[in-house]
């Protein structure tokens, strides 16, 4: 295949230097791609698509008919990260998660960071994901955010920035594992001769973490995955993780709380449950404490949790650190608890709840990206430079009506990765979601989920809005 036609168009490219020499970690990959005969790339891509379909690797799209399943598009050209760079990312993420965990514990207990005026009290208490009922909680082993998916992007300057922290029920890890599997089966020749960090031990590490944080009394803890059911967009992942760990996949109706102890209903009677990896939002967890119209939760679950009879993963209340207005303070949070500078920088962020910063945002709506503070999945984001004046005006009114709920950031020039278009390659924008487990120690899954905006020039990588994914390789070069 002739790669000379490939253009980086002035963007940072993850595989190529600006002068189109392959980056060191991508050298072998690019060489192999260059050896492809005409038609081979398209044929490999087709084989991968077919495999995903027969494996039933799907997600549900909200807003379509109930249970509408789609295959998530996968692009066979991997994103490559040099192991040396990865080790910096890994340290940065470990630092960040450690600080955020201390922050969550602090805001629900002693509130020192508020008293010391590092983070304003109004900001914490007005957070939509702040959970009053969690005040005074001491989760097992002191861990609140057991599983985090942190979104990273690389700007035009080549720097990796943290774009957002997902500490509620981040999804996507199953695709990391399945993507690698699909790559190995449909594209084996590009692996040859290099050291790439494996990803398939994630379920094993996840299970170890879940067992570690079990209540002390449980000798041989019973772990379950709690799903809202087949209509949830990530149902495939819930199934996948339960199957990979060899634990039961339960729904709210399978669980029952009796004398503050959680049981599951089995064909042989009730069986005690010690650890729940819940993929249900706080709001729906327990109708007696949170939303009383929840039909996917378990009445009495929070009482059992408070009594120390069951561990919940992630702990209820972690969403406060997921808030995009709190995100703006994370560099200070890291300095406050750890006395260190943040290894991974934030994207500059304006908090609209602050009068000065809001005015700045309203004056520059045509330059900025406005995001709701508590949405996920890319919903509600307004790309100032790319929308009409009417949409900007609408956005302005919404910010004024509820300033606390919005933040704004400069428009980033996201890095690109060569992506299959027909039988050739074109650059497409990507982000990266590494997954971090916090149990006995903090473990970062090497690589993570690379999401790619398949539409030319698009910056939206979300699965619900035309995004796809790529395998992510952490490649160890021989440089040391």
């Amino acid at each position: 295949m002739n790669l000379t036609a490939y253009q980086t168009d002035g963007f940072w490219d993850e595989l190529f230097e600006p002068d189109l020499r392959p980056r060191a970690a991508a050298e072998l990959l690019v060489k192999r791609l260059g050896e492809f005969s005409p038609g081979e790339l398209a044929a490999r891509q087709k084989a991968a698509d077919k495999m995903l379909l027969t494996m039933g690797i799907t997600f549900n799209v909200y807003g379509h008919a109930a249970g509408m399943e789609k295959v998530w598009p996968f692009d066979i050209v991997p994103r490559v990260i040099d192991a040396a760079e990865w080790s910096t990312i890994e340290r940065g993420l470990t630092q960040r998660i450690q600080a955020l965990n201390l922050f969550i514990d602090d805001v629900y207990n002693r509130r020192l960071i508020v008293k010391d005026r590092v983070v304003p009290e109004w900001l914490v208490d007005s957070g939509r994901c702040f959970r009053g009922p969690c005040a005074g909680m001491q989760p097992p082993q002191g861990v609140w955010c057991h599983i985090t998916g942190t979104d990273l992007v690389r700007g035009g300057d080549g720097q990796m920035y943290v774009l957002e922290d997902n500490l509620r029920t981040p999804s996507g890890v199953s695709y990391v594992i399945e993507n690698r599997e699909v790559m190995k089966r449909t594209f084996p020749q590009v692996f040859g001769g290099q050291r790439i960090s494996p990803v398939e031990d994630y379920p094993e590490k996840l299970l170890a973490m879940l067992q570690f944080i079990a209540p002390a009394a449980a000798r041989d803890p019973t772990v379950v995955v709690l799903t809202p059911g087949i209509y949830n967009s990530a149902y495939f992942e819930h199934c996948f993780l339960a199957r990979q760990m060899g634990v039961e996949l339960v729904q709210g109706s399978d669980l029952i709380v009796h004398n503050d102890v959680v049981f599951m209903r089995t064909t042989r009677g009730l069986e005690r449950v010690d650890v729940i990896y819940r993929r249900i939002d706080d709001d729906f967890l327990d109708p007696l404490v949170f939303r009383d119209d929840s039909v996917v939760g378990v009445p009495g679950l929070m009482a059992a949790y408070r009594a120390g009879n069951v561990a919940l993963v992630n702990a209820p209340g972690t969403g406060i650190a997921d808030d995009k207005a709190v995100y703006a303070f994370v560099p200070e949070i890291i300095r406050y608890y750890l006395g260190e500078d943040a290894i991974l920088p934030n994207v500059p962020t304006y908090v609209c709840g602050d009068d000065l910063q809001r005015q700045h945002v309203l004056d520059r709506l045509d330059e900025l990206v406005v995001k709701p503070a508590n949405e996920s999945g890319g919903y509600g984001i307004v790309l100032g430079p790319r929308v009409s004046q009417a949409e900007r005006d609408d956005c302005r009114e919404r910010i004024k009506a509820n300033p606390r709920n919005f933040i704004a950031q400069p428009m980033l020039s996201l890095s690109r990765v060569p992506t299959v278009v027909g039988d050739s390659l074109e650059g497409r924008h990507v982000d990266l979601r590494p997954f971090i487990l916090y149990g006995e120690e903090i473990h970062v899954l090497p690589g993570g989920l690379t999401r790619v905006a398949l539409v030319k020039d698009s910056l939206v990588v979300n699965s619900s809005q035309g995004g796809g994914s790529k395998d992510t390789w952490v490649v160890h070069t021989n440089r040391g």
């Binding site: 039933g56 249970g67 149902y235 339960a242 109706s253 209903r265 089995t266 064909t267 009445p299």
Partner: protein
């Protein structure tokens, strides 16, 4: 295993078996209609009555003919027992237990629903109704085969088989109750008049056998067709897989495999009800059944009642697990199962 998972697997198999049986009986009725042996209205009305949803049918249709009945039994999504409803529910149940069943099973069930039913939504769109019904039958048999060949024959498989066989016993008995549905009350043998054993009667007994895919096996056993022998074959045969006795024996076998119990004893309501019903069939005689005052219809009626009771006992024993001695207010269970 989780009660919900067991229940979904149990119902998934009942629903697939139900779809197959409806397809089979509809196919036979179509055959009969072609030859015009019976007034069409009576014929098609009889088919609706066979499956017990006549009240529902007459609410929506003024006339029982080929078109309205096939629409109702095969394609009507408001009829929870139509073929497409059964398959849609079976597929939803399969999705909720996808981590428990084999990929091959999921693949077939998914294909069954999407390909066999997805494309066709009403009788009017069928080029050939017979071909559609054959597809449904074949897909169900394929799923049964794939289940047996790819799923470990452990607890989940036994719940699957038990569901399938309880459903089949019920449907075979309904097909046999043909006199009750197809003949005006005065012509019915057995109720007030002694059963006629004419070789050529108003009922086409070979069609009855055909509805249960039993004609060839019957011939090997009995040769010529008579009411007595058809009833005996479909109710009491120990080897024919659609005969009620066979179904009860194997369903009880699965039940005991699940509980680890022994035939002849019981430790829960499901074992008791199923065991007693099976034992009654062990010692039943067709001549006694036919000469009793309740007649064949009365016997079948009672059988269906007892099957329902056994199915409810399965539900209570395995699916409705709750702390002993105290009832709790719990969420409504999210399963596609329904009692008959």
């Amino acid at each position: 295993m989780l009660s919900r998972v067991a229940e979904s697997i149990y119902w998934m198999n009942r629903q697939i078996e139900r779809a197959e049986n409806i397809a089979r009986a509809t196919e036979t009725t179509l055959d009969m209609a072609l030859e015009g042996a019976m007034p069409p209205a009576r014929l098609w009305n009889g088919l609706v009555c066979t499956f017990g949803d006549q009240a529902d049918f007459w609410q929506r249709h003024g006339l029982a003919d080929q078109r309205s009945v096939i629409d109702f039994l095969a394609f009507d999504r408001h009829n929870p027992n139509s073929i497409v409803s059964c398959l849609a529910q079976a597929r939803e149940n399969a999705r909720t237990v996808r981590e428990m069943i084999s990929s091959a099973m999921w693949h077939e069930i998914n294909r069954f629903y999407l390909e066999v039913c997805g494309a066709r939504v009403s009788y009017g769109e069928l080029e050939n109704p017979l071909e559609f019904l054959t597809d449904v039958k074949r897909a169900s048999q394929l799923i049964t085969g794939v289940t047996d060949a790819t799923m470990a024959h452990g607890e989940a498989w036994h719940f699957a088989r038990m569901g399938r066989l309880i459903e089949r016993a019920d449907k075979t008995s309904r097909v046999l109750d043909v006199e009750h549905f197809f003949l005006p009350a005065t012509d019915r043998g057995g109720e007030d008049a002694p059963a006629s054993d004419d070789l050529v009667g108003p009922i086409d007994w070979s069609s009855v056998l055909d509805s249960a895919s039993a004609l060839e096996m019957y011939r090997k056993q009995h040769g010529r067709i008579s009411r007595r022998n058809v009833a005996e074959f479909l109710l009491l045969d120990r080897e024919f897989p659609r005969a009620v006795h066979f179904c009860l024996t194997k369903a009880e076998g699965s039940l005991l495999a699940i509980t680890g119990g022994q035939q002849g004893t019981y430790s829960n309501a499901a074992e008791q009800k199923m065991g007693r019903l099976r034992a009654d069939f062990d010692y039943a005689s067709i001549d006694e059944i036919l000469t009793r005052s309740a007649g064949l219809h009365g016997f079948i009626d009672l059988l269906q009642e007892r099957l329902n009771a056994a199915s409810n006992a399965v539900h209570e024993t395995f699916f409705a697990t709750r702390p002993t001695g105290k009832l709790f207010d719990t969420q409504p269970r999210q399963t596609a199962g329904r009692s008959l």
